[in-house]
Amino acid sequence: MGKYLLQRLLLFVPTLFLITLLSFGISRLAPGDPAALKVGVTAEGGIAGRTGLNERTLELLRRQWHLDKPIWQQYLLWLRDLVRLDFGRSFQDNRPVLEKIAERLPITLAMNIAAVLIAYGIAIPLGIYSATHSGSFGDRLTTFLLFALYSLPTFWVGMLAITFLCNPEYIALFPTGGVRSVFHSEQWSLWRRIADYVWHLTLPMLVYTYGSFAFISRQMRSAMLEVLRQDYIRTAYAKGLPGRVVIWKHALRNSLIPILTLLAGVLPALIGGSVIVETIFSIPGMGELSFRALVARDYPVIMAVFTLSAVLTLVGILLADILYAIADPRISFARKVQ
């Protein structure tokens, strides 16, 4: 196991190298000059004239951000800093990128982990119910509802929620954004603080989770149906085992295998989704950070977020493989690495 992990982690390195090379190339080859953007923003009136002073500022900024060097040198410089875990400074406010990310990561990570747990926690029992009651009214209803959920665009549901549920014109059940009240105070009891968080995060979490939840439930149902058709399940029934034991002990383990591998796809989807959800609900997380960085062409932040999401995706795939091996004893860790 330890050896396997080490091998897998070593395999991360070339993959990450390729991914960063690709994204670095794309981001730098694209037109758009962050230095001009910066000067334009700081100068009064938005778009700065090309006065001598501005020319010099541009020059200085380009030199400071290494934009005057060829792309391959820029990449090597970036890579050198990355090895020292230095992502550079943000073009927007000159703060270290790592510091900005450290501020934003906890909330997004917490939302991600909660979303995965909630999605799997509801999807597995629901999928089992649907599969074992296949064809019944309950199954058809859940299948229909899950299908609708699966096709609902996140940003639309988020906007509908903001428009109708957070709006004094209609129903103001929830706040329009943020993670806690503006008027919160340190004197609040722990419960009051938790309640405040829950009040703020209920809608974003719902919007964040339902897509993967619907997807996993549908997969769980078909995986369970597939397993229930196997001969060994018929044997289990034939020897008189109660249905509960057959389903939860014999069938569940095998039907979980395809579901666990989905984790590899669910994690990157959630990372992408966080941009949308955090932007709609103004949650100060990684998604919102990257949205702002993209608008401002803040290369160091974009590259850092990109690298981090690639790492998270790779971790998701590794996690899926480990869970896969745990669920299926026929797969040994050693043989998975060629």
Partner: protein, 351 residues
Amino acid sequence: MRGSVSPPDAVELPKEYGESYGRAVWRQFRKNVVGIASLGFVVFLAIVAFLADFLANDKPIIASVKGRLIFPVFQQYGVALGLTSWGEWGRVDWRAIRYEWAIWPPVPYRPETTDPKLQTLRDRAPSARHWLGTDEIGRDVLAGIIHGTRYALSIGFVAMGIALAIGIFLGALAGYYGGVVDILISRLIELVLTLPTFFLIITVVAMVQQGSIWLIMAMIGATGWTGVARFVRGEVLRVRAMEYITAAQALGYSATRIIFRHVLPNALAPVLVAAAFGVANAVLIESALSFLGFGVPPTVVTWGSMLAKARGTVTTWWLVLFPGMMIFATVAAYNLIGDALRDALDPRLRT
């Protein structure tokens, strides 16, 4: 808990004598009411997209002015194709002309037409003048939805077309040749799978300032081919082992001929399923990008960009509801078609 178990059915489709595989799949698909209805909806969208200029336009379709018959919408096509010029109609306000009679499109606005008569927010809400309301600068929502079908349809099909081309090509190579080719292509698939796709697409599209609809299509296609490639690879591996392929090889056919004429036709049916889901996904990604404000230029009106207009204001519910409903319906239709196709290909899955 009840756990009734049905015996496994045969995977082989019940074929009528002499029937091709495609026809057998179509016969199965036709039995699925939901699938057919969804297909009908997509065809309806295609008709709307095709006739968009006749359904929502700021010029009459046919009109009579000073005893002369004019066909402004047709003339618009002529001008676009470079066949004619507007001539005296160059800068006219079509609404201000005195017609003897005129047949107007049901929605007398183009998506870019701004209605200067609207002053307050209440004017912008759905009314007899603008059935589905307008955005903050007075552009008609219904006209935007009608013309947006063009983008929604072409995004899905072009993006998926690119993905299919890459996926089928690489999948067939990997499956047919095996060995080093297979290993290289499989590694490439894994690499693309590890990319945070949505984030990559946003990054690229946001980085390129002159964002165009073609760039978005290309990006969605370039990142969305892995599923197809894996499908095709598996199918080609299966088909390659069959005797008729050995026979073809023995006859000395070239690899290209065997792959394209003999292997692929028998390996493509399952790819349709991946394609249907892929189209749904492409529509979703494009509208999400437009919603975030990346991608299409601000003059282009897509369903997602209309939805984006609702951001920042809280009372313009019509800007949220109608375009979003169209995105949802379209995505759902493609997904339902994919589902129905999968059922048609594998009757075992039907329960």
